[in-house]
């Protein structure tokens, strides 16, 4: 990149915006803060697009291969001579792609919020938090150093915490924010230890060097780290899996997904930004970032990624079919889609055609960002309209909010993978990759995509069709600022599939030509169509069929609608075990044993002094007697015993 300042500005602008609004927003920018935030972000969006253009078409490619470019690097915290957190900017295909995605979606959300959050008392604070999040997310994807990424990782977590808990007077919101932060923090613990392990053996924290040292077969570091093993697993596997756990936490992979549905307590645009398009894919991004190490040095770890992803995809899809809170449905669908990306990485190899999965995963990340945020924003405007998240309060809204309706439909088609919408293309690549490497995964993926189509249209119908509109139209569909993002995103939801990601974003930087025969596409598409038709039959018009079916399924259905009791399990572990079995005893021990010991010392001293007070009897003759006794004992001691 010709001028690093410009790239640096991309994250810095939101940061300054955050400081400005955070410190003075409440007083001075209570109304204008939205505009300020949006404008600053607009600039960084422009910049990131420019960067993308320059990278992909001018500077990025050196003799046909996209390079990792360290734009600049500054030693921020030096642990040891060769071991330091550097604040740097690393450009490579995925970074640049993410840059585009994040900045654009964030911009959309900013714009949308102008209308959605209008009249909030803490409007300025809201935008401050949004900017903080955007800053941290951009920082995360630009990181050139694994510890730097961890740093921004935490920041992203906390800004998501702040945004989820934005309605701080709602206990549920507070609880959700706490849950989100703590669960991800727990996952980050794995990440941190993973970093410690990798850094210790690779003697570096810098991504470039780290990857090089641990992925080149001949490198001495690799042999050492493979030699060192713990519980029969090589240090490398430990490191990678722990890091992956961190990623799984952020990306809400099973079993660390429990925070995501609750996170929907936050303002809907926030969900659109954080919990659909950007933060939740950080995990995918992380794995992709370290992909060479996974793929070349430790396929075992990659297997773990694959199975986790596949299972989560399916698991979430099943739950999504049963939820009645529209945002929760979307949340689970997000989880499921991310599962897609994960196992796509899992099935991928490193180089050439075999890197298809990697490419597909990135592609899906790209497209998913748009249509999922579109879905959320759509849901947002619906909620804005009916003031409720529950399906039962909705229905027949298609007349009342046409734009929302159309865009939402497009998004649904996109996620269901109906050509020619964006989702179709990315999904095809993933399925292809799965098909080529692992049939089991392929089957799971197929079923999942069918389910996806089903529950998305269940959602669609129950919002816009089924019964007639119950709510009367007191205020319109929403301000213009809410409509524009919907339209723009809708366009992208159609168009983004046509972007030739394959020639830009690949594991080894070499463009690959994806060849998905039409014949291959028949199965998934038809499955999706079946799902849609089923949904149409069941939910287009209100009838008692769904109820009956659910009763037919009985236990399974309830289990699914209760999210398979994962939350309860967690509750048990934390409340019963951590609090009652460790916390309480610790506190008790401290209060009674340790402190008691100290007090015991004091009391026993007092007791002794009480016991011996008799010596001071007050009788002068006794005194004389003791005097005499003293002499006698001295004489005995030092003349007869001592000598």
């Amino acid at each position: 990149m010709s001028n690093p300042i410009f790239i640096a500005l991309i994250p810095i602008l939101p940061l300054t915006c955050f400081l400005l609004l955070g410190l003075f927003g409440r007083k001075h920018f209570s109304t204008t803060s939205g505009i300020i935030g949006t404008l600053s972000l607009f600039i960084s969006t422009i910049l990131s697009f420019a960067t993308a253009y320059q990278y992909f078409f001018q500077t990025g490619k050196i003799n046909g291969v996209y390079q990792k470019i360290i734009v600049f690097k500054y030693t921020w915290l030096e642990f040891a001579p060769n071991l330091s957190i550097d604040m740097g900017i690393l450009l490579d295909p995925i970074t640049v792609m993410m840059l585009v995605v994040v900045s654009f979606v964030s911009l959309m959300v900013h714009v949308f919020s102008l209308g959605y959050m209008k009249g909030e008392t803490r409007f300025a604070t809201y935008y401050a938090f949004l900017s903080l999040f955007t800053f941290s997310m951009l920082g995360l994807i630009l990181s050139s150093n694994i510890f730097q990424i961890y740093l921004f990782w935490e920041l992203v977590g906390v800004s998501s915490f702040l945004l989820i808990g934005f309605y701080f007077e709602k206990p549920s919101a507070v609880a959700a924010s706490k849950k989100a932060f703590i669960v991800t923090r727990f996952a980050d613990l794995g990440f941190l230890i993973g970093i410690l392990i990798l850094a210790f053996y690779a003697h570096t924290l810098d991504f470039g060097i780290l990857i090089e040292r641990l992925s080149v077969i001949s490198s001495p570091y690799l042999t050492v780290i493979n030699a060192a093993s713990f519980l029969g697993m090589s240090a490398l596997s430990w490191g990678l899996i722990l890091v992956f756990i961190g990623g799984a936490g952020k990306s809400a992979m099973f079993p660390l997904h429990i925070w995501l549905p609750d996170a929907m307590e936050g303002p809907t645009p926030v969900s659109a930004l954080i919990h659909a398009a950007t933060m939740v894919v950080a995990g995918v991004f992380l794995v992709a970032r370290l992909f060479p190490i996974f793929a070349l040095s430790d396929p075992g770890a990659l297997q773990v990624v694959m199975y986790t992803g596949a299972f989560s995809a399916f698991f979430a899809a099943v739950i999504a079919c049963t939820q009645t809170d529209i945002k929760r449905v979307l949340a689970y669908s997000t989880m499921s889609q991310i599962g897609y990306m994960m196992f796509a990485l899992g099935v991928s190899k490193y180089s050439g055609e075999e890197g298809l999965g990697y490419m597909g995963s990135m592609f899906h990340l790209f497209t998913h960002a748009f249509f999922k945020s579109l879905l959320f924003l759509g849901a947002g405007s619906v909620i804005h309209f009916v003031h409720s998240n529950e399906m039962k309060d909705m229905g027949g809204l298609r007349k009342l909010m046409p734009i929302t309706h159309i865009s939402f439909l497009i998004a649904c088609l996109a996620i269901a993978g109906i050509p020619p919408f964006a989702g179709f293309f990315s999904k095809e690549e993933i399925l292809m990759a799965a098909f080529e490497s692992n049939r089991l995964i392929y089957v799971v993926a197929l079923i999942t995509s069918g389910l996806t189509a089903f529950y998305m249209f269940r959602l669609y119908y129950s919002i816009f069709w089924s019964k007639d509109a119950s709510v009367k139209n007191h205020h319109g569909e929403g301000t213009i600022s809410m409509k524009i993002p919907l339209i723009l995103l809708a366009i992208l939801a159609i168009g983004s599939g046509l972007v030739p990601i394959a020639s830009f974003v690949t594991a080894d930087g070499l463009p690959i030509t994806s060849h998905v025969p039409i014949s291959f596409s028949i199965v998934p598409v038809s499955l999706a169509l079946i799902g849609i038709l089923l949904a149409t039959r069941l939910f287009k018009n209100s009838n008692d069929l769904p109820v009956r079916i659910s009763q037919q399924m009985g236990g399974l259905y309830t289990a699914a609608s209760r999210k398979f009791y994962i939350d309860e399990v967690y509750l048990f572990v934390t409340k019963k075990i951590l609090f009652n079995l460790i916390g309480k005893p610790a506190a008790w021990f401290d209060k009674h044993i340790v402190d008691g010991l100290m007090n015991l010392l004091a009391n026993s001293t007092a007791k002794v002094s009480e016991l011996i007070k008799g010596f001071q009897s007050g009788k002068v003759q006794d005194y004389a007697l003791y005097f005499f006794g003293g002499i006698a004992s001295l004489i005995i001691l030092f003349i007869y015993l001592w000598q």
Binding site: Q621, A624, L625, F628
Partner: protein, 104 residues
């Protein structure tokens, strides 16, 4: 003529000393206790004189010391008795057991 060996005298004085001590420990009457102390002091005097006479007859340190002891004992007794009288005023008794308010 054969004279009394030193050891006899020392035995006497030591016996005297312990008798005095015993008296001090057992008698309740303050005056008697004072007398007991006098007994002890006298045993010391005997010691001094005896040592002087038998071992170091060339100098008179011991003799002198015993004279001083006698004098001071007198002074001590005087003050003690004054105090006891004063005590009697307040306690109406010269039994040590009655003067045990200050304790512990």
């Amino acid at each position: 003529m054969n004279e009394v060996p030193l050891t006899h005298i020392l035995f006497l004085s030591t016996a005297l000393f312990f008798i005095g001590a015993y008296g001090l420990f057992t008698r309740r009457n303050m005056i008697t206790m004072l007398m007991a102390i006098e007994l002890m002091l006298n045993s010391v005097n005997i010691n001094f004189v005896a040592f002087n006479k038998y071992l170091y007859a060339d100098k008179l340190d011991g003799i002198f010391f015993s004279i001083f002891i006698i004098t001071i004992a007198a002074a001590e007794a005087a003050v003690a008795i004054a105090i006891i009288i004063n005590l009697y005023r307040s306690h109406h008794s010269i039994d040590v057991e009655d003067a045990t308010e200050l304790k512990y």
